[in-house]
Structures are given as C-alpha cells and as structure tokens.
Amino acid sequence: MLLEPGFLSRLEQLALLSRRLYAGQQKGERRSTRRGASVEFADYRNYVPGDDLRRVDWNTFARLERLFLKLFVAEEELTVHLLLDTSRSMAFGDPTKLHYAQQVAAALGYIALTGFDRVTVTALGGSPPGAAGTPRTLPALRGRNQALRLFQFLDDLAPPEGLGNQGNTAPPQGLGGQGNTVPSRGWGGQDDSVPPQSWGGQGGPPTNLGRALHDYARTTRSTGLVIFLSDLLDAHCHAGLRALAARRFDVTLIHLLDRTEVNPQLVGDLRLVDCETGETREVSINQYLLGRYRRALAEYCGELTALCTRYGMNYIRTTTDVPFDELVLRTLRARGVLR
C-alpha cells in the first residue's frame, strides 16, 4: 500500500496548481484557453450566421442595433502527466528513490483525480517484458474511482532487470557485496574482458533519460502539467527537459537524491561500478576527494537550477530521508505546486 487512508483524506483538500492555461478535451473544472459555457464573461465577437442565437447579447443589440455574441471562459479538464524515472539507479537508497517517487506520484495523482483532472503516468526507463527500452504508460485516468488503478500501476513499477539489480524492489542494503552474487546476468564483475561499452544481450540498455523525455514531449497529444520525478543522474537529461519546455508543458521537476549520494559513506580503494552502464572508475577515496565530490554535486545541481530557471520550470530537490508526506504537504505547497 503506497499511501495511508488517513493521508488520502488530507490530500483531498489539496489541488494542483497550473501556472498556464491549457485546452482540455472534456469539460472540467479548470479555466481553459477556449471560450465556452461558464459564468465568467470573457469577450464579445461579431455574430456570423449559424451562431447560437441564445448567446447573442440582446442588450447590446437594443442599443446599437448590431448583433454581438457574448463569449464565456470555458472550464475544462487539465492533463497531469506524472513522469517517473524507473532507471536502475532509482533502485538505490533506503527507502529506494523509486519507492519514494512512487509515493509522491501516488499522492499527486490522487490529488489530480479528486480535482477532476486527467492523469497519465509514464515510467521512463522502465521496460515492460519483451519491449526493452520503451516507456510503460498508464492511459489517461479521470475521476476518483480510478485511484485504485493508479495505485496499482505505480505499485507494479520496477526498474529493468540487469546489471547490479539488487533484488528488484527490495531496498538494496549492503550494495557492495551483492554485485558478485548475481550469477551470469550482466557484468557482475566476473568477466572483466568485456569492455563496458559493448552491450551483452541480457541486460537492458541504460536509461537514456534525455531521449525518453524528448520522445514523450514529441508524441504526447495534450499538453499540461508535467511532474517529473527522477534522480537525474543522466548526462543527457538537459536536452529532454528542454524538449518538454519547448512544448509549453508546465514542468515541475522533483529531483530525488539518496542521502548516500549527497554524502557518500565510501572510503578506501574502490572500483566504482555504474549500476546502469557497468562503467567502472577506480578511485582511492579520501576526505579531499569526498570534498571534491560534494562540490561536483553542488555544481551539477546548480546547472539544473539554472536550466529550470531559464525555461520556467519548478525545480525541487529533496533527499529520500525527508518524509514524503512532508514533501507533499509542505514543500510542494510552499513551492506553489499544490494549493
């Protein structure tokens, strides 16, 4: 169970904020870019034959003897795109970053459903059986009664199998020792002769977050609110984020990091193995190097912040040891994502 029932009832009082107006597909409760039926006056326009006579402003006709149509703001639904990064790196941490992302996505999705918005969930980097590399998508849901389907879908998400996959959804504790126990799958550290860049058949390709985002932005029909949950540990994610911005999505980027990624508890002579690509780096870790790591991380986050500021995205960084309900109820409200 991703969310507690008591917590769900608290979520019902919240609503997602959109900083832009989007045209929806069905009637809803959001102001749309379209003109339609509502109580809120928007504009006048000249009458053309064929217009509904009920919408003619007769008071104006009486004064000016010309026909004008009274236009009202349409209220339509908003599409909320929940994007989850399900790459293998998300399986790290205790609790795993993926679990944390699932909880946040469930909460936000529930809020959207109760607010009569359309919710789509897409797992980027996840791979359904047999279709390696393609995103898994939950078709658009609407209405509170669809919440269970949403939760079900989120619950089933798992990072792709392959290199250094530490027991699926189980929190990968004691990561270091387990790499060698995975037999015959991926690199496992047993066969050093395979160069890291030549892909074996079994493991999934590393998540190319940038490409996945780019594809998503290009293929999605309805724009709207995008909430992207990821650890963003991908060198190409900038391009993907720019593609989202180009289609005028209202993007909220929730950057999830594990405490061990912010403050690595590593020491000694190590060979670091990338859990996605299998790339290795030999390092002798000392305080000096850890200090440089922290600086590199801060620099990386600074680049992201700059990018988001430039394209009008909402950038929220958190670590998984911040309780997720605090993130939802406090941080997201403070940052104007929720009301």
């Binding site: 650890d231 670091l272 990338d274 859990c275 590199a296």
Partner: protein, 624 residues
C-alpha cells in the same frame, strides 16, 4: 667504495621479496556498485588523464618502495668513500713550532706547510669528528679544546706563530693523550720534521698513550743547513786580549760547504774566518777580542741555507766583578788558600765574635767556619762550614762519626762536576733541612750539603769541619768552593757573558728603584713588565735575538740587553726524519698526501631514502 658492514645488504634478500609478495597478495580494488558514476566521472576526468600513465603510476609505488628498501639497506651497510686526507674521529693535531720548522725547504716554511696540512685536515673533518690543536715548542700549548667546531679550529690554526725554541714533543704527546683519554678512535698527529732529541729510552717509554694512536706526519724534504752550535766567551787571564770567544759551527748538509764566520762587536765587524766544512763536520774557532763590559758580541754565518735561525748567535759581555768575602774563622789554611786562588775574591778575615756579626752586612759573602755568631743580618749570602746558625738552611740535631757521601745532586750548580765518592770524614753534624733548604748531598745520618734560598738570603751549609775530613786535599774542593761562590753570588758572580737559550726562563737583575720595564723583542714589538722582585724571571724567550729591557730609575734611564740564541744541535739538524722513536717503539713517518681516510656516506643515503619515502607518500595520496 666499500662498506663497513656489507652483510647488511642481506636485508635486501628479505625485504625485496617481502614487498613483491605484498604486491602479489594485494587485494584487488573492492567493487562498489553506485547509482551512477556520472559525478565521479566529472571529478576524475581531469586527474585521470590517460590510462598508461595511470598504470605506470601504480608501478611507480612499487618502484619507489623497492628503491627505498635498496637505499636503506645500502645505508645499513655503512658504505664509505676513501677520501684523500688525514683524519679520524678524535684527533689531536700537534704542530711542531720549533726553530727547525722555520726551514724554507718547502714553500713558505715547514711551519706554514704544517699549518696548511692541518687546515686541510680540519676541512676534511666529517660530522661528529672532533679535534684539538697543540703547539709543540719549548712547552706544549693547547690552542683550543677538543671541539667539532671547525671555525674554532681554523682560527686557532691561523693564530699560531712559529718560535725559535727547541721541541718538547714528550710534553705535547702527554698533553694530547690526557686530553684524548676516554675517547674512541683517538689519533695523535704529530706534524713535524722529527728534528728533536730522540725520545728513546726511559723518557719515551714513560709516555702513556692510552688508546690513542700516535702518527708522525713528516714535513720537509731536505736538510741543507749549516748552523752555529756553540758560542761562548771567557776572560783571558793574560795576554793581549781581554776576552776569548769560542764559536762552533757544524755542517748538517750532505755537501761540502764553504762559508764565512763573522764576528761583530756591536755593529762593527771585528773578525772573519773562511771555513770549509765537509758533510757532518764540526769545527770550532777561537777568537781573541778586545772589549768592555756590556758590549754585544755577535757571531754570524754568511751562508745561504734552509734555516736562518741558527746562522746567528750573540752574547753580552759582562764586567768582571770583585766579590768581597769575609772569612770568619779561628784559622783555616786550606780555606784561606782556596778562597784566595779565585781571582774574583778579595778576602778579609776576622775571628769569630760579635765584631764579625756587625761587619757582615758590608761584605758580599760571609764564610762562617766552625763557629757562627748568635745573630746575623737576615739578608745576605752565607757559607756555613761545620756549623749552623741563624741564617743556615738547617737545624742541627746532633753529631755523627765517620759518615760518608752516599749520593749527591749532580745537576745542582753547587755540586755539579764534583766527585765526592771517596771523601773521608771523621766527624760531622747531623742536621735536618729547613723547609726552604734543599739537601744536595746525603750521608747515612742525614744531609751533608744543604743549599737554601729565601727573600734576599742565600746560604749554603757544609755539615763537617774541613779539617776533620780529607776534602781539602781533593780536586773536588776548589771546584766546590768556586761553584759555591758562583751560586751564592748568582749572576753577580761575574760570568764573562750573558746569554740564554730560546725557551729558557732567564733571571734578569733589575737595579733597585725600577718599577716598570719595557721589553723590546727581537722583532721590534714592545711589552711592558711590572717589576715585583729582582731578579726578574723573564720567560718570553721564544724568539732568538737580542731583547732589550728599558727602564727608568732616579739616576737616569737604564738599559740592559739579553741575547737569546738557538744553539741547539737537534734543532739545527733539520734533516726530516723517517721515523720517530718513542721508547722502544719507532713510528714511521706517513706521507700526508698519500693517506686516505674512509668517509661514511650513509647519511646521504638515508636522506635520499627520506625523500623517496615522501615521494612515495605523495604519489600514494594523489593517486586516483
């Protein structure tokens, strides 16, 4: 290059395989799966430029460690280089500063050569080596304490000056041995030409060297020298000349030498003799001279040889002086005759009694035969014969029969040249010397001859009546009397000349009333002396030549001269010796230029090892 402890290199056999084994056993890097190496990659990129260098870097540690082990093992082996030098851990540098070292057969002089050599030894001293410098002249003088400070040693060496004295190596070696006692690896270097009286026999055997090793570093390479070995003068008893001068010349060189012996009175040449001397020949010349007291007589060899110090000698003629002697006796023919024979003596005679005591202060010498007055002036010169008295150097305790001379001091001025062995004595006094008395001849019952000297008083005691012995009939008697008068009168006795040897302590008579003297040394330097007593004991006779004493008294200025000469055959014989004898052992000369001393280099190896270790540490911690 060799090593003191080559076995230490065996450590390599242990340490190198150990390091290699550790490298073989070294665990590979632990694999650590991380979510992404993206960030690590960012910070590693600039450091991890290229992999081949990275691999080399890993091997670099191994190479550095092997190098370190090699250096440490090499340091433990204590390798050394043989350096061309004389030296040791603890050295005493004995520098001969005697007259023979002024020979100019080496550039500068032998003394300068010794100084250069010693400076080189000091420069070559290793860390922790210590040395001291002793100047060997008439007396040994330590110029600096045992020190590792090379500047102190250099200053001491640069300060020292040569002298014209004889060499006293025994005292210097003793001093060095005592200063080096308890020191490990101690060596005494005697930098000398070996031109000194041999230290064989008892004198050399008695030198305790302790653990120190004596090495003789020979200086000089030839012995081309002709020198004056004696100059003396005596008064002529008759004839046309006032004085007779005797000069002895010796050729120490290997060739025949022709030379001129010149004799000057003050600055005028009065005689010259052409001499031809074959190698090793000694030749004496006698000159008759007219002269007066206080004249300076100077002999000079006109010859070009290596040592100039012995080509001159001088003396100051002394005036003849009367000695007024009061003989207090009841009648003693032998004594009277013997005193009258001496040309210096003008004799007065008186019977024992109170009159003798009152008359005594007017005479230079009072001879008391058999009976002495109760009271005598406390200052004066007295000869007690068969009696004691107020001024005698003994206390009479009794009488004895038939004593005989057992032993006597053969070097004391009073008893030298005497043969007292068969003197028969019927009766003698038994006496105990007073603290200021010195027994000169002993019998079974006690001293028979005692000399004593204290403030203004000189007295000699003969412990038997001359008429009760056969001494007056023996040759020894006039000699004893002449010696006694000489000694009792001191320099007043009127020796014909005044001269001293370099290094001697010379008693110089100073007229009453002179409080301060200025000494003008042969080299022209002047020193002030405070006069506290007469005679003044003057010890600064290190240079040969004429010393002038200038002072002032009521009557006017006062000047006296002192001639100081080398006149030493051992010093004039400047041939460098191949060995010196020390007791029964003989120490061969070492050539200063062929000696090599080991100089340890482990400190440098250890230092480089430290550097390699720092480099290794640096390489290890910068590695990524």
């Amino acid at each position: 290059m060799s090593a003191f402890n080559p076995l230490a290199l065996l450590w390599l056999l242990v340490a190198v395989p150990a390091i290699l084994l550790l490298y073989l056993l070294k665990r590979r890097r632990r694999d650590q799966v991380v979510s992404s190496v993206l960030l690590w990659q960012r910070l590693v990129q600039d450091v991890q430029a290229d992999t081949p260098f990275q691999k080399l870097r890993r091997n670099l540690l191994l190479l550095l460690q092997l190098l370190l082990v090699l250096l440490l093992a090499a340091a433990l082996a204590r390798p050394f280089l043989r350096v061309r030098a004389l030296g040791g851990k603890n050295m005493a540098i004995l520098i001969d500063a005697s007259a023979s070292m002024r020979a100019t057969d080496v550039p500068g002089s032998r003394f300068e050569e010794a100084r250069r050599l010693a400076l080189r030894m000091v420069d070559g001293m290793g860390r922790g080596d210590a040395a001291l410098v002793i100047l060997v002249a008439g007396q040994a003088r330590a110029l600096c304490p045992l020190t590792s400070d090379r500047n102190v040693l250099r200053r001491a060496l640069e300060r020292m000056r040569p002298t014209d004295t004889a060499t006293n190596p025994r005292e210097a070696i003793l001093l060095a041995a005592s200063l080096l006692a308890q020191r490990r690896d101690a060596q005494i270097f005697l930098l000398s030409d070996g031109a000194f009286a041999a230290l064989d026999g008892a004198e050399g055997a008695g030198i305790p060297l302790g653990s120190a090793r004596l090495r003789f570093v020979r200086i000089g390479h030839r012995g081309d020298n002709v020198g004056l070995t004696a100059l003396d003068v005596r008064r002529s008893l008759g004839g046309t000349f006032d004085y007779q001068a005797f000069a002895q010349v010796r050729n120490f060189s290997e060739q025949r030498r022709r030379l001129t012996l010149e004799l000057y009175r003050e600055d005028s040449l009065i005689d010259a003799r052409e001499l031809t001397l074959s190698p090793g020949e000694t030749h004496g010349e006698v000159f008759g001279i007219q002269g007066s007291a206080s004249d300076l007589l100077r002999a000079r060899l006109d010859v070009a040889d290596d040592l100039a110090a012995d080509n001159q000698a001088a003396l100051v003629l002394q005036p003849r002086r009367q000695v007024n002697v009061l003989l207090v006796t009841a009648g003693n023919l032998f004594l009277e005759k013997a005193l009258n024979v001496d040309p210096r003596v003008s004799l007065a005679k008186t019977a024992p009694g109170a009159a003798a005591a009152t008359a005594a202060p007017r005479y230079d010498l009072v001879v008391l035969d058999g009976k002495a007055p109760e009271r005598l002036p406390p200052r004066g010169r007295y000869l007690f014969i068969g009696t004691g008295g107020a001024a005698a150097p003994v206390a009479i305790t009794g009488r004895t029969e038939h004593p005989s001379f057992l032993d006597w001091d053969r070097r004391h001025p009073v008893t030298r040249f005497l043969d007292l062995s068969s003197v028969q004595i019927a009766r003698a006094l038994v006496a105990r010397p007073l603290p200021w008395g010195q027994a000169l001849a002993q019998s079974e019952a006690g001293p028979l001859l005692v000399a004593g000297e204290k403030e203004g008083l000189r007295s000699l005691y003969i412990g038997f009546d001359l008429t009760e012995s056969d001494l007056p009939l023996r040759v020894a008697f006039p000699i004893l009397l002449a010696n006694a008068i000489d000694w009792l009168m001191g320099s007043d006795a009127g020796t014909a000349s005044l001269q001293a040897r370099t290094g001697d302590v010379v008693p110089t008579e100073v007229p009453a009333g002179v409080r301060r003297l200025t000494v003008v040394h042969p080299d022209g330097s002047r020193h002030a002396l405070a006069v506290e007593q007469s005679p003044l004991f003057f010890a600064a006779t290190e240079q040969a030549g004429i010393y002038r004493f200038e002072g002032r008294r009521k009557e006017g200025p006062f000047t006296t001269r002192l001639a100081v000469n080398l006149l030493n055959e051992a010093e004039s014989d400047i041939r460098p010796r191949d060995q010196v004898r020390l007791g029964s052992a003989s120490i061969a000369a070492v050539d200063a230029h062929s000696q090599r001393v080991p100089r340890e280099v482990w400190r440098w190896l250890a230092l480089v090892g430290l550097g390699v270790m720092a480099l290794e540490w640096f390489a290890y911690h910068r590695r990524l």
